[in-house]
Amino acid sequence: MSELLRLTGEHLLIVAIAVTIAIAAGVPLGTFAHRRRRMGGVALRITDVVQTIPSLAMFGFLIPLPLVGGIGARPAIVALVLYSLLPIVRSTLVGLERIDPHVREAATAMGMTEQQLLWNVELPLATPAIVAGIRIASVTAIGVATIAAAVGGGGLGTLIFRGVAMVDTRLILSGALPAALLAIGADVLLTQVERHFARKRGEA
């Protein structure tokens, strides 16, 4: 039981670290993609391609890389960041694009600088969409993190891989079930957060 708790904690920790980094990089990237269409399109294409790499292959690619790769929690976090980036960048972009252009025009005409427009109007109005992206990223990351055990990343995947090796269904399920519950829990929780912001922003 204590091992289960420890592994669950580990699982959540690498997901939390990865999603936090992805938010810190993804929201500015999405904002940039909105301002600079051409360059933004390229950035989006790259995150799109990253998303299509099968997760086991991704870990495989990371093992020989210096600094970001190798074995352990580090390549696991790097892989999860890469997967989490796309939904966050894309949802930030969508959230910004959905803002009524007249609202933006009014803000500009009243004398807001670009920075003030971004912080006072654009990001608050895009928040529900951004949270939706964070939700998708988190759920995906919780799932992909089970595979991180293959490169020694720890987490609930450790139990699954051990169970597979020992052909022990109960051991597999003891990793798989909590991982599934975590994903569902994150989904439910972040959906609530998303609704809360949408209500506050006057959309719901």
Binding site: D100, H102, V103, E105, A106, A107, T108, A109, M110, G111, M112, T113, Q116, V121, P124, L125, K200, R201, G202, E203
Partner: protein, 237 residues
């Protein structure tokens, strides 16, 4: 004072504004009248720099708009559009407080001024201040937009058909309210409309645009009897 010096705006080879030269004096109330596509909205938006002239210059208070810092200049220019375009995530009071907060007024002064203005526009703060835009009717939203444009006592107020999306009864009511508020201030008003009666009700000078040019510039009092064929068509419509 607002001066257009040979201002042209080109879009894809077409002249939206075609060498417009105009002077609008301090405190003047001017209507830009014209059919859709005549260039009147563009003529309005070059004043607050939402559209940059392709050639020519806009001079505000003896300084070219190129030498004004646009956000600073815009805080002195009220702007009302056809759409209220309120910030949906902010209350009525916070919407009205936008420009004063940019100007860093003390909160107390903001509350006093917002209260006074909303009262004039028949949206008492006590019952409307904390509401969100989605909880208001179209006419009420437009009144908030007017309060938001007027609160910092702007030297210039620009209006782009602010009442044309409203139904006729509410439009008349708002024209009267707006006229009442604006006529008590020394602000320069530029009001775009395609409605002759509205132009004459609000302005003391009417400038008629056609295909990007000023074709008539007359005191409102002389408008109904002006002989220009476009004016005749407006009057007889």
């Amino acid at each position: 004072m607002i001066e257009y010096r040979d201002v042209s705006v080109l879009r894809g080879g077409n002249a939206i504004l075609d060498r417009v030269t105009l002077r609008i004096g301090k405190g003047e109330r001017v209507a830009f009248l014209g059919r859709s596509g005549a260039g009147k909205t563009t003529a309005l938006k070059v004043i607050n720099g939402l559209i940059a002239p392709t050639s020519g210059d806009i001079v505000i208070d003896d300084r070219s708009i190129l030498h004004h810092t646009l956000p600073i200049l815009r805080r002195r220019i009220g702007y009302v559009m056809q759409q209220p375009a309120l910030f949906p995530h902010r209350t009525v009071l916070d919407n009205v407080a936008t420009v004063p907060r940019l100007l860093e007024w003390p909160e107390e002064r903001i509350r006093t001024e917002a209260g006074r203005l909303l009262e004039l526009l028949e949206l008492p703060v006590a019952s409307f201040g904390a509401r969100f835009p989605r909880m208001l009717s179209g006419g009420q939203q437009q009144r908030v937009a007017i309060a938001r444009a007027l609160i910092a006592a702007p030297e210039i107020v620009l209006c782009d058909e602010p009442f044309s999306a409203l139904d006729p009864l509410i439009r008349a009511e708002l024209q009267a309210l707006f006229g009442g508020v604006v006529h008590t201030t020394p602000t320069t008003l530029v009001f775009v409309t395609h409605d002759v009666r509205e132009a004459l009700r609000i302005a003391e000078r009417v400038i008629v645009f056609d295909v990007g040019r000023v074709v008539v510039d007359t005191p409102a009092a002389g408008f109904m009897t002006h002989e220009h064929p476009l004016v005749r068509r407006f009057v007889e419509a």
